[in-house]
Amino acid sequence: MAPPPRDSWGSRLGVILAVAGSAVGLGNFIRFPGQAAQFGGGAFMIAYAISFLIIGLPIGWAEWAMGRYAGQRGYHSAAGVFHCLIPWRGSKYIGVIGAIIPLVIFMYYVVIEAWTLGYTVRFVRAFFDPALRFQTVADSQAYFGRFVGSAADGSALRLDLDSLLPWLAVVVVINLVLIYRGISAGIQKVCEIGMPVLLVLSLLVLARVLTLGTPDPAFPERNVSTGLGYMWNPGKTLVVGEDGGTIAEVVDADMVRQRERAEAMAAATPGARVERRTMLSQLADPDLWLAAAGQIFFSLSVGFGVILVYASYVGPRDDIVLSGLTASATNEFCEVALGGLITLPAAVAFLGVAGVAGQGTFGLGFNVLPMVFSAMPAGSLFGAMFFLVLFIAAITSSLSMLQPGIALLEEALGIGRKGSVGLLGTLTALGTGFVAWFSRDLKALDTLDFWVGTFLIFVLAMIQIVLFGWAFGIERGWEELHRGGAIRLPRFFRPIFRYVCPGFLVTIFVLWFLENVVGLGRTEPSSYVADLFEKGEPVAWLCIGVVLVVSVGLAVTIASSKRYADDEA
């Protein structure tokens, strides 16, 4: 059977913006600052930079090279890429993981995308009606709970502007319409408009945040400088309890005053003491390395199967080394220079370090920041801008998650875009409905994010880097990377591709697995494992069921594909 008509990128800048758009997401603006501050600020940045060089860039480049290589030979799905690269009948069934991951992630990611759209509109409404501004963190926390339906299953599916349902319907329709328009007229167009808008809006919000100073003179320690210190200071002064647990972190521009404040706080708490952690002592903590590598890994969207598919539409003249580096650099710019300077300084300026420490990604993004933006001058405007930035970041990512599935259906079944979008639209709408309905404690979203958005991504990334360095072969991979290239990689990247990156990734994965799945070092097993095997939580098992249905469906699609069968004949 002849390959289906080939879609392609309209320009080199287009594919770069699309890959960057896929990588830039909520994690850049919310997760990164929280992780960096929690794991030692400046010390975290050292581990983060090393992880960028030996994990982020190499896996990304490997995906670009293998994707383009297979794309030039008519394969555009992850299963097709594996089928093209490995002369073994089972390879396409391993490659199908690259379609399962983005498809399942899409099912819950659009729910979060709908939150960001709902919050954007809420701040626009608050601009005209001040009564809609959030007065306290408890206020915004209660609103978030109602909006997402965390109290009871099905409670988010109400037809009003302050609940998930209308926004979810809008974002699902937008995503399907845009993906139907194709690579160049859909994904590329959105990213070409969306990414510059995202950068400009982020810079405006950044300018607002950095000029906040000390918003409340009654709390002189709550200011932007303290927020920046909390994020970036390489050493930490902690007040710890008898059990070694951190009670509070003290941040002050003056080291002597910082020590005095910490000692005063420790003196007021029975059994507490002051502990000073230097940059070197923090770097000796394996959790810091795990957090930094994990952040790089998920932030760059490597291991999703998305870059593999996007790169398959790149032409032979394109410089994929430079394109990959530029997409990664754009992501890093948004994460470090924007996310690292906006989120925590704004939050600390209004709530102090104590009000921000320990907040998770959603807590910081949807409980703390809405109140913070409500409290600042012109806050409704800047709040709307900030959540619009998150929405743009989210939609450029969610679009990228649909394309791998579309590519697989088109390639395996030989059906056109209309048929593949229709099939995939039905499947993802059902999956999204499942996540939206089982909203109590965000159980479905959280479970799918753990097993697919974390565990399976680790697995696929390891398979891909081993495939590149060992099966595809470093010689062929190196040649493909530099085909049409204007810049060349230094030769020291060759051993990094072959030994350092896989070794580091396996180490990180084993540590992560032992800590988060086996529960090593904990008094009880991981909650995700307990949900399945101890509590027998029905929603957790239904999530596994969803993943299995998608996996079997895609595997059957591949097995019934005449094209793959013809190739193997």
Binding site: I16, P87, W232, P316, T326, T330, V336, A337, H482
Partner: protein
């Protein structure tokens, strides 16, 4: 914010900004290289 924190921030933000701007400059100004021939058979090679 302490001087060491300021230094870390300046180096980190400066590094990603420089990398980002250098990449954008390269993309806008440098043409891609020449196309090379694709090998005939890929899958069974």
């Amino acid at each position: 914010m302490q001087p060491a924190g300021l230094l870390v921030m300046a180096v980190s933000v400066g590094a990603v900004m420089t990398l980002f701007l250098w990449c954008v400059w390269q993309v806008l100004t440098r043409p891609s290289g020449e196309v090379e021939e694709l090998p005939d058979d890929h899958r069974r090679s």
